[in-house]
């Protein structure tokens, strides 16, 4: 009995781990070692043996970025690391792949001369950042010409996560910075999250290479950070920073503060006090906010309790808006009939009122889906993303 429930707990916590900390150690390595509390973190980068993150210019310009870390060889440019969520990862580039040429120009050490790969991709990318690469696949040894859409400089958010206290963080502490759509919280921003090691540093530089096709100019966005250790959030952001739109995308400073009921050992052993559950005030506030937004009320006691018992509260927040829009209460509130409901959820999810044609199309679809509200909502949300 005991053992099997323990197993369930283990499964859950494993899943939570997947959700909360998508550990991306590659990027974290870039900033090992102490970093001064400087506003311009790129001038304070520690020397990196083996190359640069190509395209990461010290002066932000109209440059393009592939997202690899390389060594220049006489036979081409050897990929040493691939940045998570980068153009390189999307193009399926792998460690030990060899980039032989960019847009027809050989790169690396060519006839004893150095042909700069990063300069070459900037030079040869077209207006929308497309460039063709000749790559030797590390597994098959074959040469292939691939077309890559580079990450633009403008679709990255850079800044620093700052802790004001000087508490010692355990070795497994990870900071996750994420972009969130405030206007319509159910929309995720693709690649809108980055995780770094947080131990031993008071200011942690971050860079999020989000997918710009997921950004809607009509919506408002914010970034926030949280530090997770041992499966629990130990620091969070009280004041998320507004980004995108007219706001700056560089030099963003996010302050994180310790969560009250957690004790972080100030010296010595990296011990985090045991507490039950991972639900904290900030999650509860978000949960309540979603209830107010969709149902016009705060959650009832039993709904709060259910949230606090829930083993994966953070991921539950993601699906909550759809759940509430599918609820009977919402259905009744918007007029207690299918047409009004379709109109209302279309407005919520797509961000505008449906045309008559769209409305009828979705109504028909609703019937085709055997009257299942949740199914319609999912399809609507998907249609928005495509």
């Amino acid at each position: 009995m005991w053992r099997s429930s323990f197993r369930v707990a283990a499964i859950w916590s494993a899943m939570c781990g997947l959700v909360c900390v998508s550990a991306l150690p590659v990027q974290a390595q870039r900033f090992t070692g102490p970093i001064n509390n400087s506003s311009d973190l790129y001038n304070n980068l520690p020397a990196w043996q083996g190359g640069n993150w190509l395209g990461t210019s010290l002066v932000p310009t109209q440059d393009w970025k592939l997202g690899v870390q390389t060594d220049d060889l006489e036979i081409g440019v050897l990929v040493r690391q691939v940045a998570p969520g980068s153009a390189a990862e999307r193009a399926n580039l792998e460690v030990n792949d060899l980039i032989v040429a960019v847009g027809g120009q050989q790169v690396g050490i060519v006839d004893g001369r150095f042909v700069d790969f990063s300069a070459e991709i900037r030079r040869r990318a077209d207006q929308s950042g497309n460039v063709s690469l000749l790559v030797q696949d590390t597994r098959s040894g074959r040469l292939a010409s691939i077309r890559v859409r580079l990450d633009g400089n403008q679709s990255a958010l850079r800044g620093t996560v700052v802790r004001r206290d000087r508490a010692f963080l355990p070795a497994d502490a990870r900071v996750t910075v994420s972009v969130q759509n405030i206007s319509r919280p159910i929309y995720v921003v693709r690649n809108g999250e980055a995780t770094y090691s947080a131990s031993g540093q008071n200011s942690i530089p971050f860079e999020i290479n989000y997918d710009p096709s997921y950004i809607d100019p009509n919506d408002a966005y914010q970034v926030q950070a949280q530090i997770v250790s041992n499966g629990r959030i130990i620091y969070h952001t009280l004041q998320p920073v507004r980004v995108l739109g007219s706001s700056r995308s560089d030099g963003i400073q996010i302050e994180v503060v310790p969560i009250q009921n957690t004790t972080v050992a100030s010296i010595g052993s990296p011990v985090i006090s045991a507490g039950y559950g991972s639900v904290n005030d900030s999650l509860v506030a978000q949960y309540s906010q979603i209830y107010r937004r969709y149902l016009g009320r705060n959650p009832y006691d039993v709904e709060l309790a259910a949230f606090m018992v829930s083993p994966n509260a953070a991921s539950e927040l993601q699906t909550l808006p759809l759940n509430l829009m599918a609820s009977q209460q919402y259905y009744d509130a918007v007029g207690n009939n299918n047409t009004m409901w379709i109109t209302a959820v279309f407005q919520q999810i797509i961000g505008r009122a449906p045309s008559l044609q769209e409305r009828d199309q979705w109504l028909k679809f609703f019937n085709d889906l055997r009257g299942s509200r949740m199914e319609v909502l999912r399809q609507l949300a998907n249609s928005k993303r495509v």
């Binding site: 016009g296 309790a305 259910a306 599918a326 009977q328 009744d332 009257g371 299942s372």
Partner: protein
């Protein structure tokens, strides 16, 4: 033989809990057991005719209305979970965690109540985390459709937004359907509402019956019945209700008032919102409505419970089973089916009865079933050999 005994017990729990407060010590006692009521076919018919109306009763009106006790109006101070919430956390923690069983695959078909649609989807989503080979297809065409669908698809799972009577299970039994069992998987709490200015303090089961059924003479239907003194005492009580075919009205007649003929509303209202809106303008009015459907200008009348004192109408009272008037939501499945699809359907019921399933029910806007009910359901599944 033993198993069919268990079957009857579980389905009985489903029926009886709705009126479980009708103990001899107070007025609730006189309600006849639902099984003696001859109107089962009527209720089925009513639900079929108007599947949409049944679902609406589970709802609350979306206005700027404040919640029930302990819930400040929207936009007020940030929510801070207090001691009441901690108590509820402890209660929910008492529900058995889900322990997945076996390697399952196939398609589970679910038919029935539209009101339960989002709850079943939430179950399906989480269920798939444990059983990725299983797909769940939900067709929500109303509770009235449920048994007809079960007859056509013996391996399916059907959902009804009301309790299920043993006779109904007997009726559905056939060569194809060997062992139909009803499981109570969630509840909705019902409340008695009066005008905000009404001085009545509480209502007992006996008083409720006197007011809402034709057991007492129309001439006696005055507010003094509810121990009201002063100018209102000699004024008539006016019933405000939805049409007779609505799911709520059918449920009240069949399961709360034991099939007695109910008084009808002067005007048959379309939705819960209409009912409460009319009540807010009628100082002499009274109605029964979903407890969560709290509106402006009306108030909930506490129900007198077993101990002869009013039961608070808060979440803890409902969750612990103290609250006298709730409506059970039911899943029906044929445990006699042994195909992979049927096994997956049975396992989905198992999931629904466990903690994750019950938390999903809360998110869908319902209350969990009472702990003993959940246990009874789990035991029944456990006893079934194939698991």
């Amino acid at each position: 033989m033993l198993r069919s005994g268990g079957l009857v017990v579980a389905s009985w729990i489903g029926v009886v809990l709705a009126v479980s407060w009708l103990s001899p010590s107070n007025g609730w006692a006189q309600a006849k057991p639902a099984t003696q009521n001859p109107t089962s076919q009527n209720s089925q018919k009513a639900a079929t005719q108007n599947p949409a109306s049944g679902q609406a009763s589970t709802s609350a009106r979306l206005t700027a209305s404040s919640g029930q006790a302990g819930n400040p109006p929207a936009g007020a101070n940030p929510v801070k979970p207090g001691g009441a919430v901690q108590d509820l956390v402890a209660m929910l923690g008492g529900i058995d965690p889900y322990r997945p069983v076996g390697n399952l695959s196939g398609k589970v078909q679910v038919f029935g109540s539209t009101a339960m649609d989002n709850m079943v989807h939430a179950w399906a989503t989480e269920f798939k985390l444990f059983h990725p080979q299983v797909t769940v297809e939900v067709t929500a065409a109303g509770s009235g459709d449920a048994f007809a669908q079960l007859k056509q698809n013996p391996q399916a799972l059907v959902m009804l937004s009301r309790p299920v009577k043993p006779e109904e299970l007997q009726q559905v039994k056939s060569d194809a359907i060997k062992d139909p069992v009803a499981f109570v998987v969630a509840r909705e709490a019902l409340g008695v509402f009066v005008h905000a200015s009404n001085p009545a303090k509480s209502i007992s089961g006996e008083q409720l019956r006197a007011v809402f059924t034709k057991q007492s003479a129309d001439a006696d239907l005055k507010w003094q019945l509810l121990d009201v003194t002063g100018p209102l005492a000699q004024q008539p009580i006016r019933i405000v209700a939805r049409s007779e075919t609505s799911g709520t009205q059918a449920f009240l007649r069949d399961f709360v008032f034991g099939g007695m003929e109910m008084r009808v509303s002067e005007k048959a209202h379309e939705s819960n919102g209409d009912v409460l809106g009319a009540l807010a303008n009628d100082p002499l009015g009274i109605t029964i409505c979903g407890l969560r459907a709290n509106g402006l200008g009306v108030r909930v009348l506490p129900l007198v419970g077993r101990a002869g004192v009013p039961v608070p109408n808060d979440d803890a009272a409902v969750l612990s089973g103290q609250y006298p008037m709730t409506r059970n939501l039911t899943l029906v499945v044929d445990l006699g089916q042994k195909t992979p699809e049927a096994k997956a359907a049975h396992e989905l019921v198992h999931f629904a009865l466990c903690r994750s399933g019950q938390l999903a029910a809360i998110r869908a806007g319902f209350f969990p079933a009472e702990l003993p009910t959940l246990r009874a359901g789990l035991n029944l599944l456990e006893r079934d050999k194939f698991r």
